[in-house]
C-alpha cells in the first residue's frame, strides 16, 4: 500500500531547548487507521502539529499526499483535517456557521449538501442553529470533527478524540471513524486509551521520548509481543511447588491457591495438556481454570518500560 504521509528524519527542538522529536521516520499508508501511542510528553502532539502546520520543524521533511508540507503547504494542508486535543469552539456562533467557516477557510467553495451530510453523520443537524456554547462536551467534540471534515480531507488527525467522552459516545465515535475509513479517509489517532487502539487501529506506532520505538500491524504486534496466561485455582493450597514440577515455569500465587503459567502466544499449545497431565500425576486438584491473552496495554507498558530501562 502506498504511503499517504511520509515523515523523514523529523526533529523538533523548542526554543526552551526541549527536544520533542528526535530523527522521526514514519510512513502512514493510504486508507489505514493508524494509532500513535505514547505516554504524556512523548511527542505525539508535536508530531501531529508539525504535519498540520502548527509547529515549525527544526529539521527533516514531511510529505502529505505527495506534497511537501512546507514548500507546497497549500496543496498539503488542503488534504488534511485536524481535530486537536483541546476543545476549542467559537462560543457565540451557530454550529452551522462555524462549519461553513471551516470549509471556506480551507479554500473550498460553499457546499450546503456536504455540510448537511457531515452534520447529520455526526448527529448535529438538529443543533445546527444552536450557539456552540450551548452544546454539551460530547457535542462540541463532534462539532470539531465536523469542522475538520467540512473540507473533505483525505487525511484526518484525531488527537485524543475520546478524552473525557462517555463510553456510549466513545463507541459512536469509533463507529464513525470506521465509516470514514470505509469512505477512503486515512485516519491517524493518538490515544491514551489502549483499548481504543486495540479496537480500531490497523497499525500501531509507539513513541516515547521523541523517538518512534516501534511500528507494526496490530495483529502481528499482538502475536509477536503478546503473552498468554493460564491460571488454575486449586482445591487445596500449596506451600511450595512439588519437586516433580520444579522444571516447569509455574508460579504460585494467592497464598498457594493459584498456579499461574505464562507462555508466548505463538507457542504450540500442546504442552498445556502435558502440564495438566503432570499436575494430575502430582495429585494436584484444581476447581477452576482460566486463560487470558495479554492486552495491547500490557504490550505497551512493557515496551515503554523496556525502552526506559535501555535509555537509563
Amino acid at each position: 500500500m502506498s504511503a499517504i504521509i511520509s515523515v523523514e528524519q523529523l526533529e523538533k527542538t523548542y526554543s526552551g531547548g526541549f527536544q520533542a522529536l528526535k530523527q522521526v521516520d514514519l510512513e502512514i499508508r493510504a486508507g489505514e487507521i493508524f494509532a500513535l501511542l505514547g505516554p504524556n510528553g512523548a511527542g505525539k502532539t508535536t508530531l501531529i502539529s508539525i504535519i498540520c502546520g502548527l509547529v515549525t520543524p527544526s529539521a527533516g521533511r514531511v510529505m502529505a499526499d505527495g506534497h511537501d508540507i512546507v514548500r507546497d503547504f497549500r496543496a498539503a494542508r488542503s488534504k488534511i483535517g485536524l481535530v486537536p486535543q483541546e476543545l476549542a469552539t467559537n462560543a457565540f456562533e451557530q454550529v452551522i456557521a462555524t462549519v461553513r467557516f471551516s470549509r471556506g477557510l480551507f479554500g473550498k467553495p460553499p457546499n450546503e449538501a456536504h455540510i448537511e451530510k457531515v452534520l447529520r453523520d455526526l448527529s448535529l443537524w438538529d443543533k445546527r442553529h444552536t450557539p456552540t456554547m450551548e452544546l454539551s462536551g460530547g457535542m462540541k467534540r463532534r462539532l470539531m470533527i465536523a469542522k475538520a471534515l467540512s473540507h473533505e480531507p483525505r487525511i484526518l488527525f484525531l488527537d485524543e478524540p475520546t478524552a473525557g467522552v462517555d463510553v456510549e459516545l466513545r463507541r459512536d465515535m469509533w463507529n464513525m471513524v470506521r465509516h470514514l475509513r470505509e469512505s477512503g479517509v486515512t485516519i491517524i489517532l493518538t490515544t491514551h486509551y489502549i483499548e481504543e487502539a486495540e479496537e480500531m487501529a490497523d497499525r500501531i506506532g509507539v513513541i516515547n521520548h521523541g523517538r518512534i520505538i516501534l511500528v507494526d500491524d496490530k495483529a502481528s504486534l499482538m502475536k509477536t509481543l503478546g503473552r498468554k496466561e493460564l491460571r488454575l485455582t486449586l482445591q487445596e493450597p500449596l506451600q511450595a511447588l512439588p519437586d516433580a514440577l520444579a522444571d516447569t515455569e509455574l508460579e504460585l500465587a494467592d497464598e498457594g491457591y493459584q498456579l499461574i503459567y505464562r507462555f508466548d502466544v505463538q507457542d504450540d499449545h500442546a504442552h498445556i495438556s502435558d502440564l495438566l497431565g503432570r499436575l494430575g500425576e502430582a495429585g494436584i486438584q484444581y476447581r477452576d481454570l482460566q486463560t487470558r491473552e495479554s492486552s495491547l496495554e500490557d504490550i505497551f507498558v512493557d515496551l515503554v518500560h523496556r525502552e526506559q530501562e535501555v535509555s537509563a
Binding site: Y14, G53, L54, T56, L82, E93, F106
Partner: protein
C-alpha cells in the same frame, strides 16, 4: 490568492458585527453623538469660529477620526485575539492560507466595520451640526486609509496581547489621549509655540488635520505631510505584521 479562505474570514468577522449590532454600532454612534449635542449644539453656539468654521462643525472631523481610530484598533485586535483566546486559532494556522490572506481577511473586515461606522456617525452628526465636505473623494479616501492603517495596528495588538487587559491598554491609554490632544477640539495654532512643537510629535495630529482639510480646506499641517505621515504609519505597521508572521511571534512555536 485563496479567495474562499479570505471570504470565509471576512464573512465570519462581519457576522459578529451583525450579531452584536447594539455593541458594535449603536454604542459608538450614541457616545459620539453626545459630543455633537454638548460641544456642537449646546456649547458650540457660545464658542467663536475657528478658521472661519463654526465650532460645532470644526470638531466633526476630529470626532469621526476618534471613533475611527478606536474602532479600527478595537475591532482588529479583538478579531484576532478572540480565536487565540478560545483556541480556535489552530484552524486558521493549519489552513491552506498564506499570511497575506489571513491579514486581508481580518484587517479587511475590521477596516470595513470602522468605515461603515465612520459614515454612520458622519450622517448622524448632520442632525446636530451643519457641516460641509469640500473634497468628498479625499475625505472618503482618508477615511479608508486611516481605517486600514489602524486596523493593522489593532491586528498587531491582538497578536501581542495575552489578556483582555492588554487588549484595552492601547486604545484607552494611547489612542484616546493622543486623539484628544491631537487637535480634535482645537486648532493647534491656539496653543503656545512650545506646545505647538510638542503637539507635532503626536501622530494623530496629522490624521485629524488631513481629515479636516477634506472638509473645510484648512488644516494645521499641509495635506501632503498628513498623507505622507499616514502612509508612513501604514508602512511601519505592515512591516511589523510581516515580522510577526515571519518569526511566528506568539503564533507558532
Amino acid at each position: 490568492m485563496n479567495y474562499y479562505s479570505i471570504r470565509a474570514i471576512y464573512i465570519f468577522e462581519m457576522s459578529r458585527t451583525f450579531r452584536t449590532l447594539l455593541q458594535s454600532i449603536a454604542t459608538p454612534v450614541i457616545s459620539t453623538c453626545l459630543y455633537f449635542v454638548v460641544f456642537g449644539s449646546a456649547i458650540g453656539s457660545q464658542m467663536m469660529d475657528i478658521d472661519g468654521v463654526s465650532y460645532g462643525a470644526f470638531i466633526v472631523p476630529g470626532l469621526v477620526m476618534l471613533t475611527l481610530l478606536m474602532q479600527s484598533v478595537t475591532n482588529a485586535s479583538f478579531g484576532i485575539y478572540f480565536p487565540k483566546f478560545n483556541g480556535t486559532i489552530y484552524e486558521v494556522m493549519s489552513a491552506p492560507i498564506s499570511y497575506i490572506e489571513i491579514v486581508i481577511g481580518y484587517v479587511g473586515a475590521a477596516a470595513t466595520k470602522s468605515v461603515v461606522l465612520g459614515l454612520i456617525i458622519l450622517l448622524t452628526a448632520r442632525l446636530f451640526v451643519d457641516y460641509q465636505i469640500d473634497h468628498p473623494i479625499w475625505m472618503f479616501s482618508f477615511l479608508i486609509l486611516t481605517a486600514i492603517t489602524f486596523s493593522f495596528l489593532g491586528f498587531i495588538i491582538g497578536i501581542w496581547a495575552d489578556g483582555f487587559e492588554k487588549l484595552q491598554i492601547v486604545p484607552m491609554m494611547v489612542v484616546t489621549p493622543l486623539t484628544f490632544l491631537g487637535g480634535t477640539f482645537y486648532s493647534i495654532d491656539m496653543l503656545p509655540p512650545f506646545w505647538q512643537g510638542v503637539t507635532l510629535l503626536n501622530p494623530v495630529v496629522y490624521l485629524v488635520s488631513g481629515f479636516r482639510w477634506a472638509f473645510y480646506g484648512t488644516s494645521d499641517v499641509h495635506i501632503a505631510i498628513s498623507l505622507a505621515m499616514t502612509l508612513g504609519f501604514l508602512a511601519i505597521f505592515i512591516a511589523l505584521t510581516w515580522w510577526i508572521f515571519k518569526t511566528g511571534y506568539k503564533l507558532k512555536s
